[in-house]
């Protein structure tokens, strides 16, 4: 595998190294906050990457991706509540339920295209939100506290911040590697081709929607994993994590970083969440700045950050 020296790749490599060394920096400076912040960022980077798979590579603009954060989170939360604390059970359940939900919602939503698809994925995710809000046994609107993080029988202690951070980072890098392999596989070729020119792909013999659906399910499953990680990170899960504006946040991360670039969502998640953090220290009304900023980005910076970097030339 060749690794060309381009601005994009250099930035990606630097960021990856930075993420790896972060706990060291945190330890040396005594800054715990940055570790917890970046744990959250890494988790969202994984979620955004899974969205990028269907949006950037698959051309499916799903506005309901945050639902899987909730599903994964509630799988952990509900099982923990009911006395099942083992991560070996919780996490596979999180993945399985996410996959199932993605299968059903995908099968229904993929009967539509374009803006219809956006609206419908939005609506279904909101449906999940309402269902979960209605589950009074599990806290309803107030959410569910998770008293003990997922137990992995001594393999890894999620309550240890550094170990947990590296677990999340491992999931992120593992997820990115998986996505990279998928993109370049036969399956990935078809999915990208379908995004590019569906009619052409049908004409040469591919049942386009079948591939879209499988892609959709894979992405939902990966995001379910992020959900399980997120629930562990906050020791809490509530319907708010799957409110549709959260799906919007994920979309923004993907677009900001650069849709269709492998590392883009990671950059996007970092920039978006760091910006959010900085702005909120600056003013309580940070969304008033973020909102128009988003508008401007859409108007002028197409292709996101990776897109801008891609247009630079070294030397």
């Amino acid at each position: 595998m060749t690794f060309p020296i381009t601005p994009r790749n250099v930035v990606a490599a630097l960021v990856a190294i930075g993420l790896l060394l972060l706990p060291l920096y945190s330890h040396l400076t005594g800054n715990i906050f940055i570790l917890t912040l970046f744990t959250r960022i890494v988790i969202f980077a994984l979620a955004a990457s899974s969205l990028n798979l269907i949006m950037g590579y698959g051309g499916m603009m799903s506005f309901g991706h945050a639902a899987y954060l909730g599903i994964g989170g509630y799988a952990v939360g509900i099982l923990s509540f009911e006395g099942i604390g083992s991560g070996f059970i919780q996490w596979p359940v999180a993945l399985a339920v996410s996959a199932l939900f993605a299968l059903v919602i995908g099968a229904l939503s993929l009967r539509t295209r374009g803006v219809y698809f956006i609206m419908i994925t939005l609506a279904f995710a909101q449906m999940a939100y309402y269902i979960v809000s209605g589950m009074s046994r599990y806290g309803g609107d107030d959410g569910l506290t998770i008293y003990k993080r997922s137990n992995f029988d001594g393999l890894i202690y999620l309550s240890n911040r550094v170990q947990f951070y590296y677990l999340c980072l491992g999931c992120l890098f593992g997820g990115l590697y998986l996505i990279w392999r998928i993109i370049n596989s036969r399956f990935g070729m078809v999915v990208q081709g379908v995004r590019s020119n569906e009619q052409r792909m049908q004409a040469i013999g591919f049942h386009a929607n079948r591939y879209r659906l499988v892609c959709f399910v894979i992405a939902g499953t990966i995001c379910g994993l992020s959900g399980a990680l997120l629930a562990n990170n906050t020791d809490f899960v509530s319907p708010a994590v799957m409110y549709w504006t959260r799906s919007g946040d994920l979309m923004v991360m993907v677009i900001l970083g650069g849709m269709g670039s492998l590392f883009g969502p990671v950059i996007g998640a970092i920039v978006y969440l760091v910006l959010e953090e900085l702005l909120s220290q600056f003013t309580e009304y940070w969304a008033m700045i973020m909102g128009p900023l988003l508008l401007l980005i859409v108007l002028f910076a197409r292709g996101g950050i990776m897109g801008l970097l891609g247009r630079l030339r070294l030397g």
């Binding site: 078809v190 990208q192 020119n197 009619q199 052409r200 049908q202 040469i204 013999g205 499988v214």
Partner: protein, 259 residues
């Protein structure tokens, strides 16, 4: 040589397609025999592309039947017909713009090489797919441009690539929708020569406006006017058919080619 005693490879019966008040395909019947090069001509608006789209499955007819290789494919979706051996090139170039020429062809080859639910191995490294793609590119004369992104190919090269993509699906029947659209003189001649070669291996249905090419290549010609077949015969007969001349060839300067 056309074997007229055999069953037609493609049998179209009483095909009807309406768009609101317009009848684009008006009770159309047509047979294509295995091994022949069958041209379909007609003035603009005759419904040629509508017909092709119904044959390949992009458009569903209102009534009528289509049989391919003995099977009723009238209700089959496009991807299934492709798998049965029915390939198509598009009138308006329809390629995968984000991919290179060879990728375009390789994906087409991939479609007919087992299933594509493989998530791990690098598809671009599958030797037999790449080889099949390269040979299709060589046939149309594009082997030197294999790694060029489609967006950087000239119009003529894109038309050739369309053909390569269709070929890579190893078709029994090749439906070509104006493959020479927008081609210059040299490129057209090259395309005609290519089609002359291909006709020995695959049955071809050719929709074209380029009369010189049509009369040079076709075994039989079907003339379409307002969605209806007004004549279906050998080129000589068509050239002399009064109704055809009136409806279509009358105003055109036809270069009489030597069949």
């Amino acid at each position: 040589m056309v074997n007229s005693l055999a069953d037609p490879l493609l049998r179209v019966e009483n095909l009807v397609r309406r768009f609101g008040g317009i009848t684009a395909t008006d009770n159309l019947s047509l047979n294509v025999m295995s091994g022949e090069l069958h041209a379909i001509i007609g003035p603009n608006g005759a419904g040629k592309t509508t017909l092709i789209s119904q044959l390949t499955g992009q458009l569903a007819p209102n009534s009528g039947t289509i049989h391919f290789a003995g099977r009723d494919v009238t209700r089959q979706p496009a991807y299934r017909r492709s798998r049965l051996g029915l390939a198509r090139s598009f009138q308006t170039t329809s390629l995968l713009p984000d991919f290179s020429a060879i990728d375009n062809v390789a994906i087409a080859a991939q479609a007919h090489d087992g299933h594509s639910f493989r998530f791990w191995g690098n598809a671009r490294k599958e030797k037999h797919l790449r080889d099949a793609a390269r040979s299709a590119l060589t046939r149309v004369g594009l082997e030197a441009r294999a790694d060029v992104p489609v967006s950087e190919l000239s119009h003529g090269e894109q038309r050739e690539l369309e053909l390569a993509v269709a070929l890579a699906t190893k078709p029994q029947l090749l439906l070509l929708d104006e493959p020479m659209a927008g081609l210059g003189v040299t490129e057209s001649a090259r395309m005609v020569a290519l089609l002359k070669e291909l006709r020995r291996e695959v049955t071809i249905v050719l929709v074209e406006h380029d009369m010189e090419a049509v009369f040079a290549l076709a075994d039989r010609i079907t003339v379409l006017v307002y969605g209806r077949v007004i004549a279906c015969d050998r080129p000589d007969a068509i050239r002399n058919n009064e109704e055809v001349k009136r409806a279509y060839l009358g105003d055109q300067h036809v270069v009489v080619a030597h069949g």
